[in-house]
Subunit: 426 residues, 4 copies
């Protein structure tokens, strides 16, 4: 990078370039504990192989940024467009999702070569001044890759949980903040009224977080902390999984078919409860937030507890003054986290522990406009049959967490780090 | 009914009694064109046999009204509680829904005897003064039976459509109002703002319509008429069923699996299009509103047309000053309906033609309270995975239509008389 | 029938005419206890509605006999060819088997009108001399209808067993001969050697029973009676359904998926065992032959008992000198049957109690030739994936039982009257 | 191995020891072209990962030979008994077959360590004199591993065929002998009569090949060569896949569901036909024997050709005087094979090209006795729902081919090297 040109580049371009390098190297870091086989297997159609995440995020930059905007760019391998397109119909045919685990070739090493090829081209490109439009696409690509970093970890956990050897991804500290267990949940009151929600600030946000708009909200209360594993055990002991009156009809049907009787990954091989984690099989920590529950379970729990799930408007409103901080330190220097203060006047554990199911189906905000171009398919086409989660989890990259962020999953999904915060009417 | 007591009864009780008699006799009337076999078969798990509708609505009165409130009442047949419970978990076990079509016994004649037994007991009960709580249950039972009257007709249409002989349920006039086909859809503009929605008037409404509450709505426009069959043909000719970019992802998957390429019941045995109706197989009327489309198709159509579906708040707000009138005349004296005036300043065809898919998932209104008692399961437990439809169809009983009414079905349901009205941002 | 012509007709034609009348009227007799709804429902894809059996057997005469051989014959209703073709690909398209239960029209009454129309034409035809070829087809049609008479009864039993009211088809005596329960099964020894099997006598036999041919058989022993319900209870108490080493791999898989733990139709609502029969729910008779077991269960039982199932060659050889007699008296005058003598030197209960599973897959005999014409599809195309049963059951028409008869069903079929006779090596 | 003891050991033990070493090293050789990921993936429930084959065959020796017969043997890793048991119910629970592809751990390297551990123990054991019973088990283990060597290759081919990159397992010569294509198939005549079949010689055979016994066979003719790809193309052009009258009913249903319209692995990306092989995607060789067809297709082809498939008795009788020779040279030195002479008086291509479907269901021979011990489950429990194949394929180890060998697969299996030889009645 000749210094002569460097000062001409916008501050935004320079910041994005740093972000790009950081994001791209974090993905490589995340793949280090994995063998070629680990990175190839797919444990269920909803999950993807680690190798696929590494390649697909690369394909995104190749297809959205390099091919249309760098005339001299040579595609790494033509077939990869078919193999690593996730769901972009406007781009062309794609390899069927449930068969991703059969792609033993290209190898993990080949995928790293693919990554290097694309990184080189991106770096070359960024040495020149580039337009805001293209910078937008690079920024989208970085955020896209951060999403896949989290998915890579949730998918590896799911894969390893299927293996009777219960391998650990990486030995490290506990990922979530514990609470001092109290006899009851404290709630904080909010006045509601005509409030604003959605993104309109500086920096990046997905199309689905826009436009900022007004919603009318009744007075409500939000729990100051997350529901713990210990409280979930109480729910189980009280027949939570046996009494249909706590459950939505679809939830009860899903529970019956799948045979749910505890959160995903809980085991009871002997008199004690254990849970499968990225650290391998661990004793269940009763004061840690419950994770790996579906929307249906979260909703049933809330009804059992005489409360309800918050709407996303309520959640976003309540999070108004809280500092945002994530949990997945760069390069995975995971650290034990300080316990939240139980006497805090504000809600605790809002960011970076577990995704919090809301009562809100994922639909378009009023006057929603999809991103232009192929990325139009990014969020809009998933606006049916999903519920919004807020807050970010212990495996969400720190810089990827924000107050207006709308994550979404189907109501029976359990393999994410998804938990519960209660709300109720004032 | 001894006149000495008659004047003591409340006006409400007398009105409800009249409603009860009318509703109960309408159901019998609706079953007249059906043989025992017609009334027994079940064409898919979502549909129920006509006999089952007749018995289940009777079971509802027996279980909710007579058993708890008439100490001398003798249950008609003990096993019926198991056979004709639809989904009330708090009441006990029930016969599996997909096996309803195997109940060749009791016969249609036995079911009518059951109806008579319960009607006699209800009439005896209503000769005495009864409490408001019980009157509420009777009112709920009448509205419940009206819902099943519509389902009986939609389910018979589905059954007869599976029969290669394409039998007619009943020869009658066309059930929907046609429009004079215009070259484009006219829209009416609304200011929006902080508007009210939900029920708080006199008379009956379901728990899901309450409480009345405020929502903030951006300025919007609503189409003055429904989309016609002819317009749907245009959508088909323009590749509407072949282009995934018009579709939600779940919708596209549903379309692929089920092989949708036209609304349900459309056929093209020769050069002309036909459609299966309660009148048997009929030529497709291009100026009639399209019916039997899923939410996914409605949504794809709207995107293709450069518009969107209205939210239920928008729909309810726009319907503010329109007179409510239904279509299913008492005792099924179906009449041809006057065409709507195309120059009308207000939206036309809002009530009683086809149910109109909205963009709104069926969720609880703020501070929603389920009905007390067993009827608590009536609506609340279906609040996931469904979308709201508004307006009432040509087979909805007239008295059962109201502005705040929230019908709901899964987004892939097509066997209801469900159609499309467009909206767009102002 | 004018006597002037009668003496001209062959004795065979007169006999067949009598058989035809008897068979056709027996079918009508069998339908008498059924309502239109009973006759319409289909309880599983393997079963057919009674109405369908009545119509399909009629369609067989219309399509195979009348249409090709009576130029003046007018088809009753054109659509019936599509509706009532079972599996004859050479004749044309057909209504999908799993949807037979949705044909509420034509009604049972219409089907009887169809039967009368075809009977009239057949009787007119038989007043003239007709060729041996056509007589062969009529004979095939009679035997075909006798097969469907048995199926009509097994299918109605299956339908009624799904109904929580457990209705009875017809109150009558027990259909099977009981045995005096002994402490052990006696076996009769046979020398084997190069023996003959298959049909070559006078009268009717299906193509699959021909040609008569030689097979070499090792010395063997055949049990003198059928396995009883009481013996089956012993098998169950000894873990028969829990121990995979008794079972074929496919059988164990089928058992696991379907949850078999007793013969079909056995129930234990209280401390006693009951079984669903054509007489409704009855106490289990321990000395009656076990019925409604699959090949897999029969085979597992035999292995548990230290024996094996007989091959069909062994069965046919052992049945050499036994008189054939059936059980389903004409017009269903079902009578209690005499108990077999336990001291008999010959095998008992060989005919007319339950079909006996053999160890032999249903394959073609050497030099097998399918029937010519459309009836070529009658048996040959089913020669994979099925096992042979021998002997005839209590609901097989008497005249339809013969020593060489090869019935066949898939190894997981349980709704036929199928039971077990043991064999072992000498 | 101290020479002092060597001469004490039986000749059989020494021969077996050599066989063991050869077999064990061939498996390792076969795994060399595979990455850890290649060896881990499972492309369908019927197939297994290469790593699993390598481990399971090792587990067989550990469980059947070392654990019961070498008191000092220390199991390599306790969990492997659960992971690598295939279907031995008497040994204990096992990992579900469809999830074998999720075992990314143990790695391929770990599996090789497991192999070395067991090989060391086996070699130590064989330095001492061991009993005939244990030698029998070692011999069974060697034959078992040879079966899995073939499966490893067929399963890898299936896996690589799912990969859009169509990778090659190994570049080598064509594996099958071609024929000089003739205008018609020549047949050789056989008298039949009371012939003997089954194994009773020296050396190894599976329990299912015993006992030798007599069967009566009518005079028949057997084709002198296999059906070629070119002849299969003729079948396709003549509507072979469109005309149900050629097909067994179950076969036609399987074809419809799976959409078969050519042998497995055939592709036609352009105007030419190609087929996926262990060499990667190759042009279809018209004179090579057709492979990868199901029993149903083979049977339909035979009916189309006016012939039939041979019974296994016919095949074994016809093979009487032919020299047995396999094709998979030790250590995979695959060589081009000489073309068979078309003027040969004896059938050609009987061994080592493709497995030949017979008309015979896989059932027990008269007086069949399963192997004693856990190996009793080896063959006997699969004796339903499968058809016998004879002759061995181009990927069957040479020493593993013999005249009496009974391979068996379900009639819809297509991923083996399975082809067609015709027979007909004399």
């Amino acid at each position: 990078m000749p210094p002569a040109y460097s000062f001409l580049k916008s501050q935004r371009q320079n910041e994005l370039w740093r972000l790009l390098k950081s994001v791209r190297s974090t993905s490589v870091e995340l793949s280090k504990p994995l063998s070629d086989a680990d990175a190839t297997a797919q444990s269920m159609p909803d999950a993807s192989p680690a190798k696929w995440h590494l390649a697909h995020t690369t394909w995104f930059f190749e297809t959205m940024v390099l091919e249309p905007h760098v005339p001299t760019y040579r595609v790494f391998k033509q077939e990869f467009s078919y193999l690593f397109n996730s769901y972009y119909d406007s781009i062309g045919d794609r390899h069927p999702r449930p068969m991703r685990g059969l792609l033993t070739r290209p190898s993990l090493q080949d995928v790293h070569a693919y990554r290097n090829h694309v990184d080189t081209a991106l770096n070359l490109m960024l040495e020149e001044n580039i337009s805001a439009d293209v910078l937008d696409l690079i920024e989208l690509g970085c955020n896209h890759e951060q999403q896949h970093q989290e998915l890579l970890l949730t998918d590896i956990l799911h894969l390893f949980a299927q293996n009777p050897l219960r391998p650990a991804y990486r030995r490290t500290h506990s990922l979530v903040r514990h609470v001092e267990r109290a006899t009851h949940t404290e709630f904080q009151s909010f006045e509601g009224g005509l409030v604003e929600m959605g993104f309109d600030g500086e920096g990046f946000a997905f199309d689905s977080e826009r436009p900022r708009h007004r919603v009318h909200t009744e007075p409500f209360q939000l729990a100051k902390r997350l529901i713990t594993n210990g409280e979930w055990v109480d729910f189980m002991h009280d027949g939570g999984y046996e009494n249909p009156t706590f459950w939505l009809a679809n939830g009860w049907a899903a529970k019956q078919v799948a045979g749910w009787n505890a959160p995903l990954y809980w085991e009871q091989p002997d008199s004690e409860r254990w849970t499968m984690t990225l650290n391998g099989l661990q004793r269940l920590e009763l004061d840690a937030p419950v994770a790996h529950v579906s929307f249906y379970e979260a909703d049933a729990y809330a009804r059992w507890a005489g409360a309800r799930l918050p709407t996303e408007a309520e959640w976003e409103h309540a999070a108004h003054d809280l500092p945002v901080h994530g949990n997945l330190a760069e390069k995975l220097r995971w650290r034990p986290r300080a316990a939240p203060e139980s006497s805090s006047p504000a809600p605790q554990q809002m960011y970076g522990d577990v995704w919090e199911w809301t009562a809100s189906p994922f639909v378009a905000y009023p006057r929603f406009q999809p991103t232009k171009g192929a990325a139009a398919e990014y969020n809009g086409k998933f606006m049916s049959g999903q519920f919004v989660l807020r807050g970010g989890s212990c495996v969400t990259p720190s810089q990827h967490i924000r107050r207006t962020y709308r994550n979404f999953f189907a109501p029976d999904a359990r393999w994410q780090f998804s938990g519960v915060r209660l709300a109720r009417n004032s």
